[in-house]
Subunit: 483 residues, 4 copies
């Protein structure tokens, strides 16, 4: 088996996708990252969490995020290449996710700002009034370094899974805008010029149906800070994105969609980031394998390169197959999302199919990334646990991918729900029917149906092995197609 496709993101993409649009754009990104970006990304990871200058020398609150200047170099490059503007201009998410794959092979964290910027631009374009769009959309789609960044802030201190109970931020109407007060506890891309923020309009019903989504700019119309960064989180990785805690204090906000439809908008935003998470996870796994490969091909023991020892070579080959499967699953979620991202509730069957595939992909690609990162460390032996050689970084990065955008538990339970309520598994099996051997498909189908008949308690308790089998089955089946 030819391991060379591991050596660059584009080589792997080309081995998997028959025809890639804009491959010249991807090639340019890949070349730049190889020559310069890797060193910058490495330095940013080592520099650790950026720091927050809360006040300037004169005592004015400024909430500046301080970090190496060269961070701007890597960050702005992706925006210029089109990771956000292409989606809206070309009305397709394919270029976005291709770029994300290529970039996150070099820096998995940097795709977080891109994703949340996309997650700001899309609901604005879809649900914002003409006036709001005219006022804010052009800045998010600029093709130069003056581009604005977006952010998507939902989670509060009580947690991110049960938003209906956890969101306590209140929005009060005030003429053409709303005034928001509350605290957000995990705010990726803190400092963004524009954020979409989940809040509860004053007086509405409790629970998840009472949430609405608002656009909150960094600065008020009078030029003052509109939200406040209380502090930055000291994360173990993804240091390319500042994650903070944000205080909204009578902050100006603009409603997106209607007052009682917030949860739909929130989930649509999550769709974009879960798919991104899957794509990034696969790219990260490839990168960890590529590092292991370059080492194993050169490091000798017992008279030959360790790559030529049967056990390790076999592991490389098996894992390359698994990488291909994981990619096929992730890419299926990209393509399905590309079909449905402009839908609004009530949604089509294709949308429900997408949701199931997205849960399977988010779950499985992250698991695979974590496992692959661990394995790459082992291939490096003792060097694997030294900060000096960087391979340990991939595990830190991968762990964040496994937790962000919903942990594996959440994917499993939400995936179960979409099977129960929308029979999404049937849509999936129909989709796979053209590829999978009939017998295998039948077995899988019957296993799922059996499981769904269990009583609630058991159905949830035993969901993990089923979900894992379904994810692997789907991934492997989809990967056959590409052979």
């Amino acid at each position: 088996m030819d391991l060379n496709s591991l050596r660059s993101p584009l080589a792997f993409l080309q081995s998997r996708l028959p025809e890639i649009s804009q491959s010249n754009v991807l090639e340019a990104e890949q070349a730049w990252w190889k020559n310069e970006g890797i060193a910058i990304s490495d330095a940013i990871d080592r520099a650790g969490t950026p720091w927050l200058r809360m006040f300037d020398r004169l005592g004015k609150r400024v909430d500046e995020i301080r970090r190496p200047l060269e961070y701007q170099t890597i960050l702005k490059r992706g925006y210029r290449a089109g990771v956000v503007w292409r989606a809206l201009e070309e009305k397709s998410l394919i270029p976005t996710y291709l770029l994300m794959y290529a970039i996150s092979y070099y820096d998995p964290g940097i795709c977080c700002p891109y994703t949340v910027s996309l997650g700001t631009a899309v609901p604005l374009a879809k649900y914002g009034s003409a006036e709001l769009q005219a006022r804010f959309l052009p800045q998010l789609l600029r093709k130069d370094d003056s581009v604005w960044q977006g952010a998507t802030w939902m989670t509060e201190i009580k947690g991110g899974s049960d938003l209906g109970a956890a969101v306590e931020t209140i929005a009060r109407p005030a003429g053409d805008r709303w005034l928001l007060t509350g605290e957000k506890y995990f705010t990726s891309n803190a400092g963004a010029e524009l954020a979409v923020v989940a809040a509860r309009p004053e007086g509405v019903a409790p629970g998840v149906r009472g949430l609405a989504l608002f656009l909150v700019p960094r600065y008020r119309e009078n030029g003052e800070l509109n939200y406040f960064i209380r502090r930055l989180k000291d994360k173990i990785a993804t240091r390319s994105v500042p994650t903070g805690e944000v205080e909204l204090k009578v902050s100006e906000g603009y409603l997106l969609g209607s007052v009682d439809s917030g949860i739909y908008l929130i989930l649509e935003v999550l769709n974009l980031s879960r798919v991104a998470n899957s794509v990034v996870s696969v790219a990260l796994a490839q990168r960890a394998m590529a590092d292991a490969l370059s080492y194993a091909a050169q490091r000798a023991a017992f008279g030959k390169p360790i790559l030529d020892h049967p056990l390790l070579r076999h592991q490389f080959e098996t894992r390359l197959n698994a990488l291909r499967s994981a990619f096929a699953l992730a890419w299926e979620s990209v393509q399905l999302l590309n079909d449905v991202w402009m839908e609004r509730a009530p949604y089509s069957d294709r949308y429900h199919l997408f949701r199931l595939v997205a849960h399977l992909a988010k779950y499985w690609t992250a698991e695979f990334a974590v496992d692959t990162a661990k394995w790459a460390m082992e291939v490096h032996g003792g060097l694997g646990v030294l900060a000096e050689y960087g391979v340990e970084r991939w595990q830190r990065e991968a762990m964040i991918l496994a937790i962000w955008e919903g942990t594996s538990h959440r994917q499993i339970l939400d995936g179960l729900e979409v099977m129960e309520r929308k029979r999404a598994h049937q849509l999936l099996f129909r989709r796979l029917a053209e590829i999978a051997p009939a017998k295998e498909l039948q077995e899988m189908e019957s296993e799922v149906e059996q499981h769904l008949k269990l009583r609630t308690e058991e159905r949830e308790a035993l969901a993990e092995p089923l979900f894992r089998r379904l994810a692997i089955f789907t991934a492997e089946t989809l990967a056959r197609k590409s052979k």
Copy 2:
């Protein structure tokens, strides 16, 4: 299922072992760690890699390792409690490994100095001349804070697996001692007062049979430094032990055993540390579960503690079972080692059985620890990836356990070898016969025998799944006994 045994190391030990010797010693350690040790260990982890003062102000080479004073507090406590002296005084390893379990629940790294100190005292007691023993052994067995530490330095820059090729340190005879010159690349417990060091006596045959083992004190007889610490390694965890690179420059050494038997002594030292690694891995897994448990019992979502959600509760129960199995396997390796640790080559069958079990235990307990640490992070959700809450530390620590003392690859291949050459699997199956259902045992046995008939290339390539099944089978079988 009662999860409460997770809440302290002694509670779990008591649930697994019918009668524990010295449980009052263990209780005292546990109580102290809970009240004070945890905070010290946490601070040492956060402080990161210690630093090396190579020269004093006057330009004299001193190679002092600088770290918080309170590190001495936690370190010396274990020595006083008897983690080394009890083994030799009580002629049993049981108290040592019980103590290691209890301590490493709170700080997995601190057991490394203990293990290498034991790995210095044992070969000295076993193979050292009366004069050498009189000169050095009492210091290693002191019961107060003046106790000396040991260290075991084998690995050089070409790697730790293929010692025969990698060890280039040369020893030249010089009267009653030897003079060693070379560089050691991974030296745990750098700065120890006494180290056992693998070197190649000048003029002997190449390869692994040409190695000998030497005792190397920190200071020469004239009071000068006898070895030099080139630098400390920036490891991702186990910051309780300084790992460095050591330069031997015509350093005074004392031969242990005979000139051509070094490899046996080296492997006997490794036995002690591999078993320690297994015990520590299980304790670490328990700790990660305990942290997850205390969180899950208090954190609420969807109207109840997350522990009461079926999926998570089921995972806790399944994982507690796996923890019990992993412990049973690790403890089997302890008991077998306790039978054979004073053997010398040529070895008994029991020794070969020990070796297989030790490989299975080192492999499987570390895999389980890594997986459990990952899962504990997920249980914490977003908090899991913040340095602030410490849960991410268990994954860093676990990764080192998976790599130290031979990676999983090495355990698999060495385990395979002891099955091929010594038929150790047959000894194992005989041991399990009293516990395992006959049919399962037969199936396992036949699977192993089939595998051993494969031609070399394939036998190695496909060894991992077999070895994994054998490890789990052995672990689960042994765990039945304890029920």
Copy 3:
């Protein structure tokens, strides 16, 4: 000249003060610091700014300050030795400032918590109601490790000099207590159990006369946090004390003294800390000289120890003289304060004399400490600028002493004011008349009087050289007495 008195704080104190009370207490402290404390202090300095755990894992606001456990060891030791309780129990500040001298020779920063604890206990004992005293004083005076710490928080974001304009924290009466709301920008000993806080009772006149002083406990009566630590400051030194920003949000407070007398109480608190600053500055200068001495006596160049080179030896001798003068000035401020610390407005002449001497001492001892620290670095040559050898720390520490408790500018201008308004210079010259040669005294007196006749603008503009001469003259004159 005998440089040996430099080698320990007690040796120097004994050379300066004919009879020292409690010298056994001081000796015990000195011995402990030499053996253990130095290493702890060094590690705490290297560890840098402590960090703040704002929320626990369950999302409860806790504002815990996280730092090495051994910090508690050095901190609590001074409280036990009596740095606070002796002052109130023995009704004398002498034991306190002697202890501070001895301790700050080893760790200048640790005296900050002691000083602010004293600055909390004293106004409480002096102005607190019987009920308040009964409720809070015993905790501050405990002789074991359960002792409470105090803190004195005046400065807000607009600055610390012009309190009348800068303090915007508002206090509203609420039954037997007040409720305070505002932000404090430099809060030494953040996390203290009890703080005295400057605030403006609602509705009073603006300016410095409208300030009052309140006692604010860390926890409300219902057990909740009563103030919030927004963040800790990243200071260049004095890492033994956490300095933060504190938010008061309807925090419970208890009035000390009357509503319109706050400024007197604030200045009386400042008296305690300015004198402490002077004592610590001299101890720091001694320490820097002692480090330079031990180096210079051992380091050789051009064939002999550098201490034996005439230029350096001369510098040591000159500087030892200056150290004695600086000590005499600082100790004069101690003794005067000891006479007047229980006075209340309106104050005696002796109080005004104290104030002038305190300004001269705060100013001059800090200048001398900074200069001496710089010189000690130079004596170490290239080693002086390496973090490795610690001598650079004294300059960082000294700079904080020069700025805390009023910069040199502030001392000069306030010293000028007390001369203008209270003719305090005449009190000073009367005091010095018994020691100083008449002619020198006359010249100095006339120079001061001339200066005071200048018009305001010029009087301030040219005040620095005058104030410097007056400080040196006073210091040298007082030092004669001790010869």
Copy 4:
């Protein structure tokens, strides 16, 4: 007095020097630093000491210095602008030192690599054989980013002042080259492609006359590392230059000049760096004042900007005068060096005059820089001691300037020597006669002559106040000329 000249390096230079060559080059540098360089420099300072990758993943010694990529951006910019090549191409040091002034206003440390690169190129150009020049000079003078860096390594562990005793590195002849073995303890710009290194040719006389100067490339002719970096020093500042310890192990070197003339070459190299140190010190002092000014002009207390308070305004004005004097002294040393830098021993009177002025300038400008940095911190009040606002950096940087290239002690003693032996003070007074009032000059002259008549012991012991007065007198006199 107009403080505006403080606000940029070029503004100040233009106020001092009637006509500046290449002011467009300086303007371009200034503009770039203001917009981008400041942020990079700030981040590099915060990032702390770079780290050393001693081995690559495969165990090959590489000694790579790892730091943010953007360090290259600021470093290479100065080389391109001509900080080295202009000196040799334009046969004048003026452009070099003008550039250094402008650049070091923004980053004082970065001028160290420039200076040592110049200190490598100049002796090569002056003393290197035609073949050596052809082989190495072009690389040092490149105008693009492929330019080589130089380094000047003299100091060993026994110290930098008494080179005759301290240099123990041995050079053995080997055909057309020499082989050097020894250790250098303070090696600025470790990692440079080419270094000039002081060593003792085997068999020569002891003492300073037995030193020779060698050119040592980073790589041997066979491509292997030619010197080894043992570690990097953790300095308190000048983080723009890696300072390390270097091991020479039979390293290839090429003799510059003759075997017994090394000390002349070494001192000529020191001339270049001492003058640079003076220029950088003045620029640093200006920068600290500029920061203080921008703060004081905006920060208000007692109803007006603190700059408008008489005491502070007076300090600004007095200090601006002192800055002008310091600059005049530093620039005099530049101009004199520009006259004599191509001289070889035996030297002219002008060379001796230069030496005295260089000692006065090195001494006084560094003292002034340290004092000004301290004062700028005080102007900032409490903010001055926070790492957050950067003003404390200037003091760290200044302390290094006071110690590098000979401490103040060394300047005083060497200045004394050149007065005694070469009567250089008479040359100086002759030079000043056209500017200084006759009476003042006479007094100064007589004071110096008196001092020189003291017996050795006293002459040295009391040298500091005399040297200080002479430095200030010379500086103030020279500054008159510029008015």
